[in-house]
Amino acid sequence: MRKNLNVIAAYSIMMGLIILVGIFQSWNVALSIFNLCLISAVMTMGANIQWGYAGLINFGIMGYTALGGLAAVLISVDPVQEAWRAGGFDILMCLWLIIAMVFAIRFISKNFQKSKFRTYGIAAIIVIGIVIIRITAEPGIEAIEGVNPAKTGFLGGFGLPIIFSWIVGAFFAGGLAFIVGKVALGLRADYLAIATLLISEIVIAIIKHEDWLTRGVKNVIGLKRPAPYEVDLQTTEWFINLVEKFNSGKLALISNLADRQAALNQMVIEGSTVFVKLCYSGLFLIVVIVLLILTQKALYSPWGRMMRAIRDNEEAANAMGKNVVKQHLLIFILGSAIVGIAGAMLVTQDGLFTPGSYRPMRYTFLIWVMVIVGGSGNNFGAILGGFAVWFLWIEAAPISLFLINFFTAGMADNHVLKVHLIESVPYFRYLMMGLGLLLIMRYRPKGILPEKIEIK
């Protein structure tokens, strides 16, 4: 118990802060912060598996998040029959062509010896393949995008419950990680960082501009929900009764019947949004706890020990007969898959998919700040980092507004400097993140909750 005191203390402070937000701002805000904290925690767990367990830098988190979001769209949206009729055949043909191309390349690279001739052959197959695919796809894509472009203009999905997309998102992200890993894992640490960053930008470019698949920058809105809708709740008997029971003390104070009914209605409206958010919190909490148990088990298993050995001394691990390349690829896929789950969760919670919103600052670098601040190699640390940094990210604006007002209290309200500072309050969050990262790196390089491995 004593050993874990700092973990418990850190988490209690974090929960206390969120509860304070609930009391002073509103429970709605507190819960939305909490939900996004949970999603961030899943992302940091993914990044922590790669960086903390294996020392691999993955700056492509944004790409995997977006793929998870894409999975949510493709799973939950109802198929657009008209679009399938218009251009489905062409798209399916392209899919077959791509598969054929991959097999052709595999065949050549397996059955011929490495030579200049083989390289040129593969390059020729890729170039010719891309040209053929473009020619086949062009009419299909145009037809699909022409189908009611204001509302659909894409193929739609499978019309399944959105919760399945969390698993599918993991598979999408894992699949991409397999390809990226095969290409880039041989590189030295900082090159790997740059390569993954650039590859994730390519993924975002594709998601943004292939309208037949994702609707691109036109966004997909109104996704299905795993939780009830507020409007339905507000007319449900049991929910109104529940709210009434919960607030019976407050309601009893109001003597006028009409006033009491109005107050109750207000409470039901507020209660319904809080209730929906609580549903999401429950779902997310289950994911976080399951992942935490799995990752902790993995960390202390023989496999986890092997990963740490590889991280700390690759050559020695190699000499002991461990297949470093294979393990790196495996852990790269696992970590990315977890990030993919988080991406799907994020889109599920928002109910919309906006490819334009995926930016490296928010989805890659911020997640890295979380991992570093929280403590790499320690799952509890990574989760705490996700909570603390996301909390600061949201609450930075009110905090800096308070500080600005405090320090410029002597100035007149229309002083140029004061007005300018108050206008630029939203950007103080970057300053806080940067300073936080620099201070942690300097004075506590292992993070708030450092890695601690006990051999039992």
């Binding site: 960082a193 390569a195 943004k208 700040v369």
Partner: protein
């Protein structure tokens, strides 16, 4: 005549813009490569340092404009740049002293320094946005065009116009002067040679009496000059927006790696490789073929290899291919 028209078309839409963009990338890429070669880390704050330098230039330009100093046909920013460079050098040395020095002295692994540079990136970005705001700023004044498209058409009687912006000429001219000066410095002077020696083999360089503190300081000074001029030229030619500068970091990295990281000359050429391939692959050649092919063979589609949406993706794909087949870059840089 048609053939001439086709050539003018390519010059106007591919060659000149690519040359300008390539010069802007090249300055940034040399900056990245110098930091990588001598301080040995990937500097993720590159784009934001450039935007910081540009911001200072803009502030000085506004000041000069307000007190009525101008260069006539040339942009006022040219007078502001030297002051901005001075400011930027102080900023770079300040950051080095309070942030990077600690890790360098402790011989931290390069990854840690890269992470620290992300912290610097956040802070610099915040400062820029707090001081000047996130929106578009234009600070160009003076004559905008050297040759206007319409004038060119009247002058030559061709169908295609050739527009030459003064900022394009300025960018290419300043880049050539600056890069030649830099290469002269690196290859001919004693300090430059000792920098190269330090980059090749730190221990041997220290043994032969090279002062590492001085080398590091000079590197940051050169970096400050490159960042300010590169950023200001980009801002003059297009416009200044902090977010675009952050995004430009990616093609700059691509250019530095394609050219062979740690090799300034490679980075210089890498900038042009990236710029030309981006524009070559995303340009619609329909009009070009209309001029050079006989009438019955004219293409119906746009003859565009990739849509312009994939402009960035092109440079990154080139980078991936280079990393796969020639990890040390086209011009041999440090071995990965």
């Amino acid at each position: 005549m048609d053939f001439l028209n086709a050539i003018i078309l390519l010059l106007n839409y591919i060659f000149i813009p690519a040359l300008t963009y390539g010069s802007q990338l090249a300055l940034g890429a040399i900056f990245v490569t110098l930091i990588y070669g001598i301080l040995r880390f990937a500097n993720f704050a590159t784009g934001d340092m450039m935007s910081f330098g540009t911001m200072v230039t803009i502030l000085f330009t506004w000041y000069f404009q307000s007190i009525g100093i101008s260069l006539g046909v040339l942009p006022t920013a040219l007078i502001a740049i030297p002051f901005a460079i001075l400011f930027m050098i102080i900023y770079m040395l300040f950051i080095d002293k309070f942030v990077f020095k600690y890790y360098r002295v402790n011989k931290s692994p390069p990854v840690q320094l890269a992470m620290v540079s992300i912290g610097v990136m956040f802070v610099t970005q915040a400062v820029v946005r707090i001081v000047i705001g996130p929106s578009d700023q234009r600070f160009f004044d003076g004559e905008k065009f050297i040759i206007k498209a319409r004038e060119f058409k009247e002058m030559t009687g061709l169908n295609e116009g050739l527009a030459l912006k003064s900022t394009q000429v300025l960018t290419i001219f300043v880049t050539i002067v600056l890069v030649s000066l830099l290469f002269w410095f690196l290859n001919k002077t004693k300090t430059g040679k000792s920098m190269k020696a330090y980059s090749d083999n730190e221990d041997l360089a220290l043994l032969s009496g090279i002062d590492p503190k001085r080398i590091v300081m000079i590197t940051w000074i050169i970096a400050g000059i490159l960042a300010t001029i590169g950023g200001a030229l980009y801002g003059l030619d297009k416009s200044f927006k902090p977010f675009t500068y952050f995004n430009n970091m990616l093609p700059i990295f691509a250019a530095a790696i394609v050219g062979g990281i740690g090799n300034p000359f490679g980075a210089f050429l890498g900038g042009y490789v990236i710029a030309f391939s981006e524009i070559f692959l995303t340009y619609a050649y329909k009009k070009f073929f209309m001029y050079i092919l006989p009438e019955n063979m004219e293409p119906e589609s746009l003859v565009q290899l990739l849509s312009t949406d994939y402009k960035f993706a092109v440079s990154f794909s080139i980078l991936v291919i280079v990393l796969l087949y020639r990890p040390s870059g086209i011009f041999k840089g440090k071995v990965l």
